[in-house]
Symmetry: D2
């Protein structure tokens, strides 16, 4: 039986943050609680509140908080004085991770990649990917896409579309052209064709690209999901023009859209793939850049990073691969649950005349403006649901529930969301509003 969230009424003393934490902090502003424990889909604060987590560390907690198998593996490792930090020295933990990656992920998918441990953040993985693409091709320009998000260090930030993030650079962001993503100009314009025309035109001003850097579903940029057709065209374009195809699978990968990679079964193979977020399975910092062996032209140490050998993360990542990816059951379950989520969001969209976005368990609903979205997520939080927004104007309420969530709990959270939407936006059919809200409320066990 599902118990509903119990948010705490009392906010914690935040003086230490005001005094000592930079004002750059953001999520803690809309969710002013101090958390102490977390298990599965639930977070707990230090006033006894309990919250259902539909944010999942922005998709870093696909298997939920502190998954018991992963947790046990990590505790055992630490207790046994397993190597914690080892730069890029070989360790048992690394060897096991690489073997599991090979056996559980690469081989069954017919993929042949090498793993580059880049420093344990997504932005490092992206920096390594574009450095490599530039090195391999001898070209400088990278094609990124509108609404793309790839990180906050200077190389990755140049590939990021968001003006607010870009403005933080303090220097012009160069060597990147931002091209329209799939559907950017509406359903009637094929933006891959537009790009092709400019690439083929020696007078377009678009320099020959080193790489195309693309997310199959844009996590921060509004949950825009590219169609397989468009992605195949982009892959073919890259090949035709001597550019590498980099899929940034940091948010959409690790099962979020169903498969381990978000591009599985789409009929193309990226040259380079970046992974991070849920890679460690437990939220530990870990990032990878996967690359075709022929592209592995790095000199030893040409790219490095102190924490590239985060063995704790190797341990939990290995456990996660074994637990969730050794057989296809998990992926099937995510796909099925993603369909449930889709159905619920489509219903909501119909009811309130809105539209939905996304793919798999990475979906959202466009509520028209950031203000409306903030109102909705604010109501949700008061009801004990942690949920956030996405998109150029923060106008998409996004559902990033843990992939391991029970269907009933997912429905519970979606009920809270739907009620919050109903409190904020009038439904299309006025007669309907109270009825549905009530019925839903009744469905929730106390």
């Amino acid at each position: 039986m599902i118990t509903r969230p119990k948010p705490s009424a009392k906010a914690p003393d935040t003086k230490i943050y005001e005094r000592r934490e930079s004002g750059v902090r953001s999520y803690s502003r809309a969710m002013p609680r101090q958390f102490n424990k977390a298990q599965g889909v639930w977070m707990h604060d230090n006033e006894g509140g309990r919250y259902l987590d539909f944010l999942s560390g922005c998709s870093s907690l696909n298997y939920g908080h502190n998954h018991p198998v992963l947790k046990q593996a990590l505790v055992d490792y630490i207790a046994g004085d397993g190597v914690t930090h080892a730069l890029d020295l070989h360790t048992d933990a690394k060897a096991e991770f690489l073997s599991e990656l090979e056996n559980v992920i690469l081989k069954p998918r017919g993929l042949n990649y090498r793993a580059m441990f880049t420093g344990p953040t997504g932005t490092n993985a992206v920096e390594a990917a574009i450095k490599l693409a530039r090195k391999v091709t001898g070209r400088e320009m990278v094609v990124a896409f509108t609404n793309g998000f790839h990180g906050m260090t200077l190389g990755a930030l140049a590939c990021t579309g968001n003006a607010g993030k870009r403005g933080g650079a303090g220097v012009p962001l160069s060597h990147v052209s931002h091209e329209p993503f799939d559907g950017y100009y509406g359903p009637d314009v094929d933006t891959a064709d537009l790009l092709e025309q400019r690439l083929a035109d020696p007078s377009s001003g678009l320099d020959a690209p080193a790489a195309f850097l693309v997310e199959t579903v844009q996590g921060e940029g509004g949950l825009n999901a590219a169609s397989p057709e468009w992605l195949r065209k982009i892959a073919a374009l890259a090949k035709k023009h001597g550019a590498l195809l980099i899929v940034d699978d940091i948010q959409a990968g690790c099962g979020r859209t169903g498969g381990f990679f978000s591009f599985e079964d789409m009929g193309f193979t990226p040259d380079i793939v970046t992974l991070a977020k849920s890679l460690s399975g437990m939220g530990l910092p870990f990032a990878l850049t996967l690359l075709r062996p022929e592209l592995d032209v790095w000199s030893p140490g040409e790219h490095n990073g102190t924490f590239r050998g985060n063995n704790h993360a190797f341990v939990t990542a290995t456990a996660a691969l074994r637990t969730f990816w050794a057989d296809p059951a998990f992926a099937r379950d995510v796909t099925r649950r993603g369909a449930l989520l889709e159905r619920r969001l489509e219903d909501m969209a119909k009811r309130f005349d809105l539209s939905t976005r996304g793919r798999g368990m990475m979906r959202g609903i466009n509520v028209g403006s950031g203000d409306v979205a903030a109102k909705i997520t604010g109501i949700c939080f008061k009801e004990g649901l942690i949920i956030e927004t996405s998109g150029a104007h923060d106008e998409i309420v996004k559902v990033l529930a843990p992939l391991v969530i029970e269907d009933a709990t997912l429905e519970l959270g979606l009920d809270i969301l739907e009620n919050a939407v109903a409190e904020t936006i009038a439904p299309v059919d006025a007669s309907d509003s109270t009825g549905r809200q009530t019925s839903r409320k009744l469905g929730i066990a106390a």
Copy 2:
């Protein structure tokens, strides 16, 4: 009684690395063993070998491997389902870390900084620092220094001197001027004066700088230690010319030179300080950018990163602050041990007509070339001592022993090093060589 290292003779099967790990790996090439456990100053491989660690994760393991107090704190935290990953939400672990930072580090030193959690790698901390400096000043150019090392993402890499690392960028690295570090042109040229002349000259071509980014001791660049006088001049220059002073204390901080910060008691206060490496105390990914409150002009989320809230690291960092920095005993001990290290290296230098570098427990010996240094470290490794090189030509053999090392163990490692030098370089006084080697050898307990 100190037992000497017992390196294993048998190298592990490395096929998985060759097949699946990028050729960018480096340390594992010179030290082809597979490690599995580590405790204190010792690392163990999976063939039963035991190694004394004079590399310490490039200064990321100042308190040794898996320090029992830190380890216990972490295991307890995990076992109790403490929040692992929380973006920048408030957590008990973060609040405790901030409080401890305030009480144990900042207040006693009369420092007033805010902490920015930047993403848990040093390069992210540097990127945040220079972004902020550019944002605050409205200027673009950053002054970095010859032989400086600041990271591998594009913004930090532009500040890094090493041509090999820079070459990996694939694009020109801009908006940075690399100025001569203290002593770069020999003892008779004050490079701060040279810099001042160019800054004061409106026709020098040196644009007004947003920041000076400096290491007090250049960890990767050859263990060059800047004098307090020079650093004070640089600090004054920055102030005079409206630039911010950023001390990159990623390698030299956290006790490596004695104090928690490497610039303590030098008579100047940086505007921004970056920390990483040993900050978590246990080698977990964690980085901070400390900034004067008046500089905290960030908009919420203007810089962010998925793993900026690595709560495991908060827990171990808090434990480390409590364990090592709550009273001055540790710092005093490091200083004393640093003097021992200095004495031994000076003796070696005298014996072999070499020169030494560095400060505190961050010292090295210049053996003239990378080839000679590689020979020496190779011999050391065969004797069970993990030790690496530094400098523009890898010509400095650097000693980065854990700060908690026993004096006798430190001497043991230095004996191994000295013997390796003696095997490689003829001593100044030929008669001396065998004698000393032998006596040293006798001093080592089996």
Copy 3:
């Protein structure tokens, strides 16, 4: 009566060029003659050959070669020891030019510009324009357009679309976004709307622009003529987004499209206009950047150039303004003659199933490929007609006859062109080919 061209059969000794002139020379390769005299629409070589000039110095000789009035003014000036070079000191010649510019050009058109003497080349004028736009707005990014050509110095080259020209830079060309020109994606896509969408989207990755830099007719880029509607939209977009509108009228201005400026009567006023090519009227180096007085924020000497005070050019430019622009007859005549040119090219296009481009006396015919175009212009040259190509693939044969050409001479040249096309491309109606060629040939007086 019009006499036809008499090209010389004998090529000159070119050893001095091979020995001493850089291989960067281009036009002289396709037209290997050595010219010595030129008058009106005719050029003469040193073997007695005579050529009809449909290139006109790429629109630098709109009034023909050595126009007698301009020539006399210049000879008188030189003979009287008029100041030749004066940096930016005041001279009678400059004052007279400014007065004439004000009275003949600006006032009658209700325009209020200041003239900036930028150094006497088009690229200098463009550099000054974009520098000013960046200075005024505090922004760095300039929107230029596909197939745009703006010059070869680094700032202007970054705004130029052509890959061959761009490749000469040797550094990445930054701070410019090349957006699709009017009609770039075919008649059904309004590229101004596409641009508007991206400018309005804070996550598009398109930074806020300092300026839009646009040619109304793209001289080098294929004689693409923007529609007044599109230009008005672009002007409105610039205003809305705080960017300056720079019209690069270097090739299309000075009467080439009918009016003195190419944007007259279109319902918008640029913030900045660049002029060069035919500005001096006689082919002397002279360039101007016209700017709205409110934008004139330059410090004295902040942009300069040794030859910005080319007084010979002031003299001939003044004479040209007086001769051609003091009453509307000339403009009317150019417009009328442009219609004749249009008619003839449209006929040709119909006959050979081709398409035309351009506006006013700046028109061309798309013959499908650079190879075909080169064949055609080669035949023309053998017949005594100097004519060149344009476009991304050099596939447009462009007619840039002097504006002062007699109608009959224009027809003569067009006959030569049409015959050359007919020799190269089969007409749509096969029966027609010989007939027309013959009749045309008969029409030419010997």
Copy 4:
């Protein structure tokens, strides 16, 4: 007999300039007269004033204004309908210029260069030079020097030291490192050695350079003359490090320092030389980039410019080569006159405790500040002497008299200058001041 200058008291009506000329104008502010005629060393204004010209168009008028031989050649050429503008088509005028360049300049000096006609401004010549160096070497970074001035378009401006000029760019100026010029750190520091150390150090942060761009005497930067030893070292350094040596001889070339090139007889040969200013001999816009034939890797048209074929300038340049450089008399005379100038300036320096700068007929006196210099040049102008300043702070009063000036006229001008200095600065020996001033005054014929 020398007649002294007669400046006019009445300033002209300047309303047209205020209304229609950009505020970027500079020289006309300190010299608010309107000039109309100029002959030899004299300029005349439209109020009957006559001025001795010690500015010479910043060295663009080395042979004086409107030299009769050059003037006659030009008038004849124009009168005969010689080709004025011909893009890069071959013309008699170009062939003659190339032949004369070969016979009079290159062959006697044993130099083997090709001439690239780059567009007729110095900045275009510099842009072409650095583009070529980057293209040839595949490197991006250019070493320029403190106080260097190379032009105002973006590529050349990045090589220019002056902060005021640089600030006009509105974008960061990249891909250039500004290194200390000869003597920058005083007589005891060899800046070539400093540079060598950094170039040889793979961790200095100085990227491998495409070129060194250097003036032998820095015209705008304060008339700093590099020693032959230093220049030879720089030439050797360039060679050693695979960089091209570009001598920017735009101001110091064409006889200003005695020889046609400023680097003659110094024991090294630049790879590339830029020329402009006095190249046409009459102040007409003309610039050249000379390059070693092996470096001539340009594709046809890869760099171009509408006015690269300024045939009027070819005509006067050819006449100038014939008149002044066919035998060594002129160079000898300039050298002799330069010595006279040196003597006079040294005397002045001694008398007023100042220092001198420069070489040949390109010399100045450092009067300590821009304010003092402006006072002095202001007094000079009132006395009918046109003279300007140079240097980072405009603190150098520079003498750029025409090279053809009679000794007595040179002395006359220097007397005016000395008196102006004396009015402004107290002499070292107080008793001396009136005496010398008087005697000098008596020496001037009325």
